[in-house]
Amino acid sequence: MSGDVSDTTELQPLDLESSRVSVQIPAVRYDQQGEMSDDERIGIAMRNFVKDFGRVAAIYMESCVHCGACAEACHYYVQTGDPRYTPIWKLEPFKQAYKREASPLAPVYRLLNLKSKVTVKQLREWQELIYDSCTMCGRCTMVCPMSIDIATLVGLARHGMFQAGLVPHELWAVAERAKREGSPLGATAQVFEDRVDWMGDEHEVEMHMNEDQADYLVTMSSIEIQKYPESMAAIAKVMNAIDASWTFHSDGYEATNFGMLSGNAEWQKAMTVKIIETAIKVGAKAVILPECGHAYGALRWQGANQYGKPLPFRVMHVSEFLAELVTNGRLKLNQVDRSVTFHDPCQVSRRGGATQAPRVVLKALGVDLREMQDSAEYNWCCGGGGGVVTIHRADALRYKTFEIKMRQVNETGAQMLLSTCANCRQTFDDGQEHFHWDKTMHSLLELVADNIVETEQ
């Protein structure tokens, strides 16, 4: 079933704590799920790829002039010099399929056989390019003279790859577990409730769980629940400090969406709808998304489209929420006399538009903000987004890309490293361990929670 040496299975899911084995078996470079013939596989891949093929994707497919600029924005190409990592090349079989099956000139291409049929062999070869070496960070979109949003196209390509059972095994297993248990990392509803209780006791902070009605539905990412549980205490402190009506809810708490990352459109929808329905049930005015990048894209920008109509509540990344609180004066913060550099999570900043929110909060904290050379919407990805951090065989490549980040952080000379994404944080932690680096990533939310000025009620 699996083509590499990872021991991640349904029964033994991904474990982010213990040391990692990331040996590649050179002869086997792809994973495969399910039993089907090659013909079936390719048919399913192509059908699911073109299923969502609307005007936007078609315009992108038609516009490329093969100038190669996208390579120069991509951390995989820049760090390796391997032309296969050129972003638009990652879509080559899908461009071929589009031209042959779906474009306005498709009959001509087929009649004259100008574009040959895509083969399973090609897709297996491309699995590494569609998954291991693309975090869908979208930096290539910004450099493209035609403005082709390649990251979106990679997301569509993953739809085809998932249905055809051509997903890197760990990512597939994580997504499957998220669908089955409600969380990719074993944070089931019961585990979540237990850990919220534990954090409430540990930090002596009042927790709100499963309230019938609340203005704010607060969600978490499983990485935080399992690895950085202090986040739960931190958001509770903030909520209590502003005297908000808020709740965690065991029906809808998991904000990560591995359906989206792995390419399973149905699972993506199911995971999103869970949060939406919970928010409606408790009459939330806003859903607060955790420090997680892709969760923001999944609910803030794709949520209503998954649901099929506008959402009756606001969707806010926690950094936006904090920015609003410090701006309207509801939250007063102590001054933190430290130099700080901030890592932008791609999906919140470049692709989400909430670029200024963390900077507003940092200003309120009074820190000396030292921006990295390429910051805000031009930031370099940590290398762990798009589900890549789950894929063991991609580790060596991921570390290579992480070198950019270490260099840029070091150049700032800042005392403290902050971000607003637990997945980035986990990638930084792993990179730190690998390189024996002296910098540790911290959470902006936790820094805020530690510096709330308690006001006399």
Partner: protein, 216 residues
Amino acid sequence: MDLLTFARGPALQAAFTIFLIGTFWRLLGVLLLRRKLDHSEPRQPALAGAFKGQIAHLWPYQPFASRVMASYLLGYAFHIGLVVVIFFYLPHILFIQDLFGVSWPALPHAVVNAVGGITLMALVALLVKRLMNPVTRLISNFDDYFTWFVTVTPLVTGMLAVAQVGARYETLLALHLLSVALLLIWFPFGKLMHAFFFVAARATTGMIFERRGTHS
């Protein structure tokens, strides 16, 4: 019918017809596809992004400049060069006036000639880059090379005709017109269509990101 009469008459007419029908077919085939309504709550109105996107992607953002500037400059050199040569060379203006009845001042022959030379050099440099750079070599296909060929041929035959080098003027002019016909026929089938699609792509991405409160 001699070659020049054929090139001037039926060849160009047929080529224009294929160009028009093909271009409309391919544009409409894409632009008439459905686009799902975006239900997400916009951070700001999206429309301005359609215009901002056109401007923003004219020039690389600063963080990318050092890595892509050479390609941009070469690209601009030949695009602007082609516009100058096609639309500001006196015989071309007369040809257009003959067809459509409109005209405008021409640039001096010497200027157009020099620009033609620069354009040719830029196109050759980009071809060399395409062949030598591992990225462009990998991602290039028949369309890239054939499109280069049909773009360069009218330029070269035109410059030869002006200089009257290599054959009789009438023959060179006929070859020039035939190469233009080839360009027009190929236009709807290959990447020359980016002349239209770039507006659509920049508008699309520009609006998506404007809606999200950032830029493309």
